[in-house]
């Protein structure tokens, strides 16, 4: 059974200029101990999706659909359950570690705060747990770190502290929203490897949000590609890379320069700009930038269709480009 199941999630912001449809009809599930990658550019709705799950959206946001975490209805839980839900059942790591940490409080205090609140640990017990956590996220000299302030640590170390804080109450699901975007490439890999090994060690589920398909490739079990607030393609990680059905997923792969390309290789950009979410969605959001778009794409929203023979691979497109297209051509000839 899925640990978290999101069904037909829609988030609309009411702004003075009218509604903005940030997320529409998004469904996905994460199993216990599994890693899901949500891939998308800015404006794709990936962050709004997880913020809705974490109860972090402003009051102007209207949330429809459901999210079921074990026996908890995430959007309709009691105040008391809520108090001990976030940080205990689901925890989150944000993009910029400096803004996640309080600059005027010592690392130790910040680490201990959550455990003392949720578990009622004594100061000493919390302190030894804090040392244990810093050790778990491979921070050298953890005892010394407890009395340091965030500015005394490097960006990579700060992000490790933030991860340690998130792990303090043994969450069953960790959501990491672009956890390495603000960091150097070398540190990026260390943090991603750390998240990956922690997930295995602690048998924790992970939702990794990123704009980079390369990041999720080796580190997730399944992927959901989002664009314009909708899921474009979802499948196991293996399936997405072996058989990319959606033109957007394909374009995303081709637009990124690759170390194996010789210098001066012309890139294959996606023309145009990301969609305007203030318009009522009546068409495929990618249609204006898609080379395969037809009138059908501009007048109706493609539903999520299953790739024949797969229980996990789905795509929202009238003109799939992978094996589905190949199979239908062969079928036509026969």
């Amino acid at each position: 059974m899925a640990l978290l199941e999101v069904n037909e999630l829609a988030v609309t912001f009411n702004t003075p200029k009218g509604p903005v449809y940030a997320v529409s009809d998004v469904s996905f599930a994460v199993d216990k101990g599994q890693a899901l990658g949500i891939v998308g550019e800015s404006g794709s709705g990936k962050s709004v999706t997880v913020k809705s799950l974490m109860g972090l959206l402003p009051r102007t946001a209207k949330i429809d659909g459901s999210a079921q975490y074990e026996d908890v209805d995430v959007f309709n839980m009691s105040k008391d359950r809520r108090k001990h839900f976030y940080g205990v059942d689901i925890a989150m790591v944000f993009q910029n570690p400096m803004t996640s940490l309080n600059p005027v409080k010592r690392i130790g205090e910040q680490l201990m705060e959550g455990m003392r609140f949720h578990r009622g640990l004594s100061r000493d017990a919390a302190k030894s747990r804090a040392i244990e956590l810093l050790d778990l996220v491979r921070i050298p000299d953890p005892t010394k770190r407890l009395s340091q302030y965030p500015h005394e640590l490097s960006g990579g170390m700060r992000q490790r502290v933030v991860i340690a804080m998130a792990l303090a109450n043994d969450p069953a699901l960790l959501i990491a929203d672009e956890p390495t975007t603000a960091l150097d490439v070398t540190v990026q890999r260390d943090i991603l490897d750390l998240l990956d090994s922690l997930r295995r060690e602690l048998d924790m589920a992970l939702i990794l949000i990123t704009h980079d398909l390369g990041v999720v490739r080796d580190r997730t079990d399944s992927i959901a590609v989002m664009y314009g607030g909708r899921v474009m393609e979802t499948a196991t990680t293996e399936e997405v890379f072996a058989d990319t059905e959606h033109p957007y997923t394909q374009a995303l792969q081709r637009a990124i320069p690759d170390m194996s390309m010789p210098r001066g290789t012309r890139l294959d950009p996606i023309p145009g700009s990301p969609p305007d979410l203030a318009i009522t969605p009546v068409s495929c959001p990618f249609a204006p930038r898609c080379t395969f778009a037809t009138d059908e794409c501009r007048t109706s929203i493609p539903p999520l269709s299953a790739v024949p023979g797969s229980e996990t691979h789905r795509y929202a497109c009238f003109h799939p480009q992978g094996l589905v297209a190949a199979a239908s051509t062969v079928g036509g000839e026969a």
């Binding site: 550019e41 995303l252 700009s273």
Partner: protein, 330 residues
């Protein structure tokens, strides 16, 4: 100041457009300490060439590029543009010279004045330097079109454009003065992946069209590989490896370059785990080779002596006591 030397510079008769020698940039730190941002860096860029500068944050790559346009003036060393040394030039002459050297920045939205229209932003330089080029309004409109902005939007303000469009506007502003050199400081890092490729292709087109020489700074090695003829790898204010881009990316010699490449998925370079440590502080950089505290191959000599450039190919220079390859004599 002992550095890695100037052996990597091309001979005088190669007629470098920019020739930087023994550049040092120091800033006052807390309690009398000196922040050594750039320590004795020498490089040259030939006309029409693109030099990619890579390294982790804090390695001095942006400071080096800014030193070329004397923003701020370097602590010591020389920056020769054509035949003129910019470091010893008086303020007014430098100001007029700078029209030749233009810059585009990482965050395109904060690089543009939010209260001014696109037209004002792009034409301001031409208004000031009026006689510099034969710019007319019609040519400016052409320029706006050539960067992919519809000229009918020229009276709009930056907030009415997306990040990618703002970067196009910054590029047009830089090109309005007919520069010879374009310095790009992480020009695509803040952009969405789908837009990055558009800007990289645009820069490639404009480079040919305007005969530009480029300094291209980025932490993204795949992007640098795509655009650069030559590459300079920096670590903590010094050059580790410099030379032909293919030679360096296909056959990295310096342990730092190898570690940097190994950090990228799909690069094919095997990681020896040497980069696990922390970047030391530029307020108190390690003695000898500055990379020795994080290097898997470090020996006694690395802690005491600064390595000098040795040659590993026709255009491939490495400053390392324990290079992962065999030097050549040409």
């Amino acid at each position: 100041m002992v550095g890695v030397g100037t052996r990597s510079l091309r001979p005088e008769d190669a007629e470098a457009l920019i020739r930087v020698e023994n550049l040092v940039m120091e800033f006052p730190g807390p309690r009398g300490a000196v922040l050594q941002a750039v320590s004795d860096v020498s490089f040259d860029v030939l006309e029409g060439e693109t030099l990619g500068i890579v390294g982790e944050s804090g390695c001095g790559k942006s400071t080096t590029a800014k030193a070329v346009i004397q923003m701020p003036r370097p602590t010591s060393g020389s920056v020769v543009y054509r035949d003129a040394d910019l470091t010893s030039m008086d303020k007014e002459t430098l100001r007029s010279k700078r029209t030749d050297l233009q810059m585009i920045f990482q965050d395109p939205i904060s690089a543009l004045n939010p209260r001014r229209s696109v037209w004002d932003i792009i034409s301001e330089g031409v208004e000031i330097w009026g006689t510099h080029g034969a710019w007319t309004d019609a040519r400016l409109v052409e320029l706006i079109e050539s960067v992919g902005i519809d000229p009918q939007y020229k009276d709009r303000k930056p907030f009415q454009f997306s990040g990618g469009q703002c970067q196009r506007i910054s590029i047009a502003r830089a090109l309005a003065l007919d520069p010879r050199v374009l310095i790009c400081d992480e020009p695509v890092s803040a952009l969405d992946v789908s837009v990055q490729a558009q800007i990289l292709n645009l820069l490639d087109d404009l480079k040919t069209e305007h005969d530009l020489t480029m300094l291209f700074i980025s932490h993204d090695l795949a992007v640098v590989r795509n655009v650069s003829d030559r590459v300079m790898v920096m670590y903590l204010g010094r050059v580790a490896e410099v030379g032909d881009a293919d030679s360096i990316f296909d056959n990295p010699i310096h342990p730092y370059t190898q570690a940097l490449l190994a950090a990228i998925p799909g690069s094919g370079v095997v990681d020896d785990g040497s980069l696990s440590g922390e970047l030391p502080s530029p307020l108190d950089p390690p003695t000898g080779c500055r990379f020795h505290t994080r290097c898997a191959y470090a020996t006694e000599v690395c802690t005491t002596t600064v390595p000098e450039f040795e040659q590993f190919g026709p255009d491939h220079w490495v400053a390392c006591h324990n290079p992962q390859g065999t030097p050549v004599t040409l």
